[in-house]
């Protein structure tokens, strides 16, 4: 069975490369009557880790089931509701509000669309927060 794992991985991993997930979408009020609208986009990201997938890859590489078993135990500590994979720090999205003000110094923003999305690359993933909106300029 174990010798078929690399073959299984080769068959199923390519379609999963770059698999995009949209977790949450939120759209705010759009004000198109108080000036000219200039679009902006803010994108912050962090690397996510799929512990089980890391264990599986390590098991294939080491030809041992031990890494996979360890990964399963580690995964027990990550149990619970979450969007996307676990990351090392959840502070990556904290700067979004200040970045909006940098992009729109007048602070007159409208049409904010907030997205929580991720792109999976089997064992690792990109965990993103994207904010698109418009800056109102006179």
């Amino acid at each position: 069975m174990r010798r078929f794992l690399p073959l299984f991985f080769l068959c199923f991993a390519p379609p999963l490369v770059g698999c995009a997930t949209l977790h949450r979408a939120q759209l705010d009020e759009i004000d198109g009557q108080h000036g000219h609208l200039v679009p902006f986009e803010i994108h912050v990201s962090e690397t996510g880790i799929n512990t089980k997938a890391v264990g599986q890859i390590a098991s294939v590489a080491m030809r041992s089931s031990r890494p996979s078993q360890i990964a399963s135990v580690v995964a027990l500590f990550q149990f619970g509701p979450k969007t996307g994979n676990v990351v090392y720090s959840d502070e990556f999205a904290d700067a979004v509000a200040m970045t909006i003000l940098e992009r729109c110094p007048t602070a007159r923003v409208t049409g904010l669309m907030s997205l929580r999305e991720s792109t999976n690359y089997y064992a690792v993933s990109g965990e993103y927060v994207t904010v698109r909106g418009y800056c109102i300029v006179d």
Binding site: P15, C19, L22, R24, A25, D28, E29, I30, G32
Partner: protein, 122 residues
């Protein structure tokens, strides 16, 4: 009573499977302030279908704001209910983001009376 053929059983099973697995999941909902004037309701939606639910990008959501703005030119879109859902049809998954709201045209604010009074004194 005749014995059902294999193809008949297969077709029946597929139909039953398709009926039972047409599952829809609601992933997120958000709502903004609802206006008093709700005479111009708006509706916009974007969707994205992929085989086995393997999507390579989330760009399908980008035109949503533009669609709402096109329905309310030079107005204010408010009371927006954004609903994100996904439906699985056996081997095909469709993601859908639906936004409903209201188009409001605020009355032009009147000039402050003090400004007129100040001009009169000069």
């Amino acid at each position: 009573m005749t014995k059902p053929t294999l193809s008949f059983v297969l077709l029946g099973s597929l139909a039953a499977l398709a009926t039972l697995t047409g599952c829809t999941a609601l992933q997120s909902v958000s709502v903004t302030q609802i206006p008093a004037d709700r005479s111009r309701p708006l509706h916009a939606e974007v969707s994205n279908t992929a085989f086995l639910g393997i999507h390579f990008t989330n760009d399908f959501i980008e035109p949503l704001t533009a669609k709402l703005m096109a329905e309310c030119p030079r107005g204010r879109v408010t009371g927006i209910l954004t609903k994100q859902e996904s439906s699985l049809y056996v081997i095909v998954q469709t993601r859908r983001v639906v936004a409903t709201g209201y188009c409001v045209y605020d009355p032009t604010p009147a000039q402050p009376a003090e400004a007129t009074a100040m001009q009169e004194t000069h």
